[in-house]
Amino acid sequence: MHIQIRKFYYGDIPEENTGGATPINHSTEQGWPLWEVFIRSKQGLDHKHVGSLHAADAAMAIENARDVYTRRQEGVSIWVVESKFVHASDPADAESLYEPAADKIYRHPTFYDLPDAVKHM
């Protein structure tokens, strides 16, 4: 039996350039601002940072976040914040900021030795 398979050679994208495209100078085009996205995965939990995206305004940022970050029921609520408004600590200060906590083990309940007889503590 002779089986013929029909192949769509180069049929992917129309060859002809339809539509009135005008060449633009991309590098001067003003881009949309960057937004940070926070998602609450279910009622009762904190919003958590999940990533970022570009959008013209807050409403579009929320719409885009819904499409990009919640396609599989990952969330029930979305926050967006324009990235330029996020202030962060300097990684170079990490030592002075966070290391002092390392030697204060008395701040943890496990520091205290209690007899086994003590219940409910």
């Binding site: 089986i3 398979i5 769509f8 180069y10 992917d12 991309h26 999940v50 013209a56």
Partner: protein, 315 residues
């Protein structure tokens, strides 16, 4: 601190499996390597939508059409996660898109092959996504934090891509003789390009050594390729099809499959821009970008108008 000390501290962090975050100090070459790899990866997701988008309107059933649309939408999402990760290294989205459109930036060569029949949708899911997943699972543990986090998200979504592909071929492999032939034909055409996805042999790969030392990559091209061959050589038995390689056989001593030599001339030709669809893909991307320019400008103008109105009301 001297540069030498910074580099030493950086490497110590890598050895201790501490992730590198955007504002941490990093060697320029580390930044550049990550930027190149992440942006190429993002471009691949975006261009990867084209060969599959080709079949959305011709899917054989509503079920298959819905699956294909979901898969293509995932790929757009994966592109966006990755562009965001790349932006944390200090480049702009516009710059990356420009580099893709001008042909300066590369994307995975696999997408320069045409999707000729419906069976190609199955073969692309099973083989191409299957190969991509091996690479991506490894990258979930890459040393640059934003890249690793993007990959975790992507891997969660990607496994459906491979499974739907195999299932689609499985249905075809149990169909009519013509369907079986179409299935085998698609496998024949996609097998070798899929093996090429892992890149040049370790002995010839220029980027591998340093990337391993910085734990950007954790397995070599050849290791991943062998893992892929071992996996597919077993799975194909369930389809009752064959892989187009007369040298493919189990090696009891190595406990791996041996396989034939890849056509490296073809590989380099496609990388250099002479594959069957390189030109078309770039044209399609450029066309979409140019035709969307007014939409992007209008959205910005609208946002600005709303901002001015709100400010006026407050005042």
């Amino acid at each position: 601190m001297e540069l030498y000390d910074l580099e030493k501290k950086f490497q110590e962090k890598i050895e201790k499996e501490i992730k590198i975050e955007p504002r941490d100090w990093m060697p320029d070459a580390y930044r550049k390597t990550n930027l190149r790899q992440i942006s190429q990866h993002a471009h691949s997701e975006i261009v990867g939508m084209l060969p599959e988008g080709n079949w959305i309107s011709r899917a054989p059933s509503l079920k298959r059409k819905a699956i294909l649309i979901a898969k293509v939408q995932d790929e757009a999402g994966h592109g966006l996660y990755l562009y965001s990760a790349a932006e944390t290294l200090g480049t702009s989205r516009e710059q990356m898109i420009d580099d893709l459109h001008s042909g300066k930036a590369k994307y995975s060569s696999i997408f320069n092959y045409p999707t000729l029949t419906w069976a190609d949708m199955g073969a692309v899911g099973w083989l191409v996504d299957g190969a991509a997943i091996l690479n991506q699972v490894m990258l979930c543990r890459t040393s640059y934090g934003p890249y690793a986090r993007a990959m975790v998200r992507i891997c969660k979504e990607e496994s459906f891509h491979q499974r739907q592909g195999f299932e689609s071929l499985l249905v075809m492999s149990q169909g009519t003789e013509a369907q079986r032939a179409m299935c085998q034909d698609a496998i024949n055409r996609w097998w070798w390009p899929s093996l090429m996805m892992f890149g040049p042999k370790d002995s010839e790969s220029t980027n591998s050594d340093q990337s391993m030392k910085w734990k950007i990559k954790r397995k070599t091209n050849d290791e991943l390729r062998q893992q892929f061959v071992d996996m597919i050589a077993e799975q194909i038995k369930l389809l009752g099809m064959t892989l187009p390689d007369p040298d493919l056989r189990w090696n009891e001593e190595r406990k791996h499959y041996d396989f034939g030599e890849i056509n490296w001339t073809e590989f380099w030709n496609v990388v250099k821009g002479n594959g069957p669809c390189n030109k078309q893909r770039l044209e399609a991307r450029n066309k979409a970008h140019e035709e969307g320019a007014w939409v992007r400008a209008a959205a910005l103008a609208y946002a600005e108008k709303k901002r001015v109105r709100t400010t006026a009301k407050v005042a």
